[in-house]
């Protein structure tokens, strides 16, 4: 393996990870506001299908992305409405939507399988793309990839450096505290669930219009669940989440490389990788393994490291907030 091959692989890892990073970012926003959108897998399937077909019919990828975002927002709205307004279990509604999205994508997309469609065109960034190694890795892609970079950065800044972000996090951490400070918690939850859902929709279309072109039944099946797991692995931070998506992409690339070496035996390994990985990373963040790792480093770095690696779900994740009733006792 020579250098240029390595750079090509790294570049493809970045490219392949982008839709997942978008989805993770969207769900991170949703969960930071206190709502769990469990329907990611179904949302992504349906939006991949709708995005592809809309792009095909309008001959514009952007219409495709817009339509996909609409699908994501619709599903997110059902979850937000069901939990906030109707006070129903968001896990149950999310799960049903997962299955429904899957079935709907199969039914509605039945006449559009395995045909060529629109593709986001390549757009290398002048100058930046000529930087050795980093250039081809990050700046010789298309707008979807650059959008992802910006999205992750902006989301982090919004969450941790603006008043909006404080409010967003208070809605998910301790809604009563937001309430007494004059924040309309449930309206924020609606907004951010819809924003997060739209991003998940865009992630679906990023597959069918760019990274995994076209549509076939079950086109992105399983990836929504992976994204949900990465949100946890990422400790509800957009940057760590994007890093998790990248890590996932890298291990898939590694498995693919292995498969080329040993084509016979390794198809099982290749298919099983994502799921074994999912259990492994959740075990890593769930058990006290990180604590034990932290204990190995010098004491003065420990607290900073713990802050960095801390994985704690938003305090009010998945719970209901009724103004004036909860808390304050």
């Amino acid at each position: 393996m020579n250098d240029s091959e390595l750079v090509r692989i790294l570049s493809s890892i970045v490219l392949q990870s982008t839709p997942l990073a978008i989805a993770v970012c969207g769900e991170t926003i949703t969960e930071r506001a206190g709502v769990v959108n469990l329907s990611l897998d179904g949302t992504m399937l349906l939006s991949a299908m709708v995005g592809f077909v809309a792009g095909l019919l309008s001959k514009s990828v952007w219409v495709g992305f817009l339509a996909a975002a609409g699908v994501g927002a619709l599903f997110a709205f059902i979850i937000a409405f069901g939990s906030i307004r109707l006070r129903k279990d968001q896990f149950a509604v999310g799960f049903v939507l997962t299955l429904l999205g899957d079935e709907l994508s199969a039914f509605l997309g039945q006449n559009y399988t395995r045909i060529p469609g629109q593709k986001v065109s390549h757009l290398g960034i002048p100058l930046l793309k000529d930087i050795p190694i980093l250039g081809p890795m990050f700046f010789d892609h298309d707008l979807v990839v650059y959008f992802t970079f910006i999205l992750v950065g902006v989301t982090w800044w919004w969450m941790f450096r603006t008043q909006h972000g404080l409010r967003l996090r208070s809605a998910g951490e301790r809604p009563e505290a937001g309430f007494v400070r004059g924040i309309n918690v449930n309206r924020l939850r609606y907004i951010y669930t819809l924003v997060g859902g739209s991003l998940v929709g865009i992630a679906g279309a990023a597959y069918s219009l760019d990274i995994k072109l076209g549509w076939s039944e079950g086109h992105t099946r399983g990836l929504g669940w992976i994204a949900l797991a990465i949100v946890i692995f990422g400790g509800w931070s957009p940057i760590r989440g994007a890093f998790g998506a990248l890590l996932f992409g890298a291990s898939k690339a590694l498995a693919a490389a292995l498969q080329r070496r040993f084509p016979e035996e390794s198809v099982v390994v290749f298919n099983a990788t994502p799921w074994v990985l999912m259990i492994a990373v959740l075990l890593l963040v769930g058990s006290d393994a990180t604590d034990r790792l932290i204990a190995l480093v010098p004491r003065r770095f420990q607290s900073r490291l713990r802050q960095l690696l801390r994985v704690r779900p938003p305090g009010a994740l998945g719970t209901l907030f009724i103004p004036g009733e909860a808390g304050g006792e």
Partner: protein, 487 residues
């Protein structure tokens, strides 16, 4: 700011929490709001602070009619409240909490807010690191932060709900000093909601007394305790003379025990509890006393040392083994950790009793439950779901579920949130247990309760246990110093 409440009414279903209350509060004065549980103090203050809306009645600020639809609106009009458990966001930094909910300019003015916060804090004699995360601060510090925030947002009327629960004697002194300063120098109107008569007498200029949703009267301080109690209860509850059932035998022995919580390590615990003893633990929230109870209950495993229960080494026992060895643990949160919302009393009784066979004999348990209901005077039927019971009845239900006989009873805040008469009743139950030979190891934030009810007391401070004092030879003051880590 002058506050007038006119004929405030607020009903929750059948319960008349506030039944036509009228009050006038002058600026620059500190008021104590007294009343037993259910008298309507909290409801009234939540109405004044915009958390609840009254069913009828008016609020006037400086002779102007106002209506609040939210706490934020009340604060915009100058009324701010500090809740007993401060309403802040644990995973955020102090300065972020300070800024949360303020103007929506896109860039957060961190540095400006930080210096503003430090300056305001130093004026009141507070020391809070703006960069510290809330979940590393004590309750006292979180109250200070809330106070700073309310003042920064222009609060003229300050309501403090039970502010001294869980803070040290030193922090209390500091808080009271700053409150005096705010009232006397800045002309703030301060309302202290409390049921600790000594604190009200120490800090307040006037006392307002509520009873059963109605305003009973106002008196100026100084005023005798007897008078206040009489106003609150209409009758003076008999002060119980403490009977000791101490026996010779050692029931629980801890030697050189060490254990660790999430953020606290406790070391070198040497403690002996005798049969029939009531042993009290004092300390700020999170100083190690809860961990000690949990270690004795088998909920956390000691890292070192030995725990002997009635001659048997139980150091490595799990919670369920401890339970089988006649140890009971009653946590503070009734519906969170004690009872199962959605299950009936009868189902609780069946769960709590030792299992016989595989099939539940519902008829048998119905009889048992009914007899327990009668014995513990629980207002409910065997089929009643526990979350439909009132708080006091839930507490009774918890006691009704305890097995008998018990060797050791571990309690957290046994009477928190209960009025004097209910608390009296709970302690009578506990004393009956002690008379039967059980020992009690408990902690409470109420120092008077500790002094009055215990045989011996130890205080915790930052994971270190103080010397053990005999209750009859100590005072709440001395405990306050021990809590602060002084010897």
């Amino acid at each position: 700011m002058k506050v007038a409440l006119r004929d405030i009414r607020k009903y929750f279903g059948q319960v008349k929490a506030n039944d036509g209350i009228s009050l006038v509060l002058e600026s620059g004065q500190i008021y104590g709001l007294l009343g037993e549980n259910g008298a309507g103090k909290s409801t009234l203050m939540k109405i004044l602070s915009g958390y609840h809306q009254p069913d009828s009645g008016q609020i006037e600020l400086d002779d102007k009619d106002v209506k609040f639809s939210s706490p934020a609106e009340a604060l915009a009009n100058g009324v701010g409240m500090i809740y007993q458990d401060p309403l802040d966001v644990p995973s955020m930094r102090a300065v972020e909490n300070y800024l949360l909910g303020r103007d929506l300019r896109i860039n957060l003015a961190y540095s400006a807010a930080t210096s503003e916060m430090i300056e305001n804090a130093s004026q009141l004699g507070f020391k809070i690191d703006p960069q510290a995360f809330i979940d590393t601060l004590s309750i006292g510090e979180r109250q200070q932060l809330e106070l700073l925030r309310l003042l920064a947002l222009g609060a003229e009327v300050l309501i403090l709900d039970e502010p001294t629960t869980g803070i040290s004697a030193e922090q209390k002194e500091g808080l009271f000093a700053s409150i005096r300063k705010l009232a006397k120098e800045s002309g703030k109107t301060v309302i202290l909601v409390s049921h600790k008569l000594s604190e009200v007498q120490e800090l307040c200029d006037h006392v307002l007394v509520l009873c059963k949703g109605k305003f009973v009267g106002e008196v100026d301080i100084p005023c005798s305790t007897e008078r206040l109690v009489q106003m609150m209860f209409k009758e003076i509850p008999p002060r119980s003379s403490r009977v000791s059932y101490l026996r010779e035998k050692n029931l629980l022995e801890l030697s050189q025990v060490e254990f660790e919580g999430e953020r606290l390590a406790v070391t070198g615990i040497n403690l002996t509890v005798r049969a029939g003893e009531v042993f009290g633990l004092a300390g700020l929230e999170g100083s190690g006393q809860k961990l000690l109870l949990q270690a004795c209950a088998g909920l956390i495993q000691p890292k070192r040392g030995k725990i002997i229960l009635d001659g048997e080494d139980v150091t490595r026992f799990s919670y369920h083994q401890m339970r089988a060895a006649s140890v009971a643990y009653l946590p503070a949160g009734r519906l969170e950790e004690g009872l199962v919302a959605g299950l009936s009393l009868i189902e609780h009784v069946a769960l709590a009793r030792p299992q016989k066979g595989f099939v539940v004999d519902w008829n048998y348990f119905e009889r048992i439950t009914q007899s327990q209901i009668d014995k513990y005077q629980i207002v409910g039927r065997p089929e009643t779901l526990v979350h439909e019971l009132s708080g006091g009845n839930q507490q009774r239900a918890l006691f009704a579920l305890l097995r008998s006989p018990l060797k050791l009873l571990l309690l957290e805040h046994p009477t928190r949130g209960l009025d004097v008469l209910s608390a009296q009743w709970i302690w009578q139950l506990l004393l009956n247990r002690v008379e039967e030979g059980s020992s009690i190891l408990y902690y409470s934030a109420d120092l008077d309760e500790l002094v009055e009810r215990s045989d011996r007391i130890a205080a915790f401070s930052g994971g270190v246990m103080s010397r053990i004092v005999t209750a009859t030879e100590t005072t709440a003051d001395e405990l306050g110093h021990l809590i602060g880590g002084e010897e």
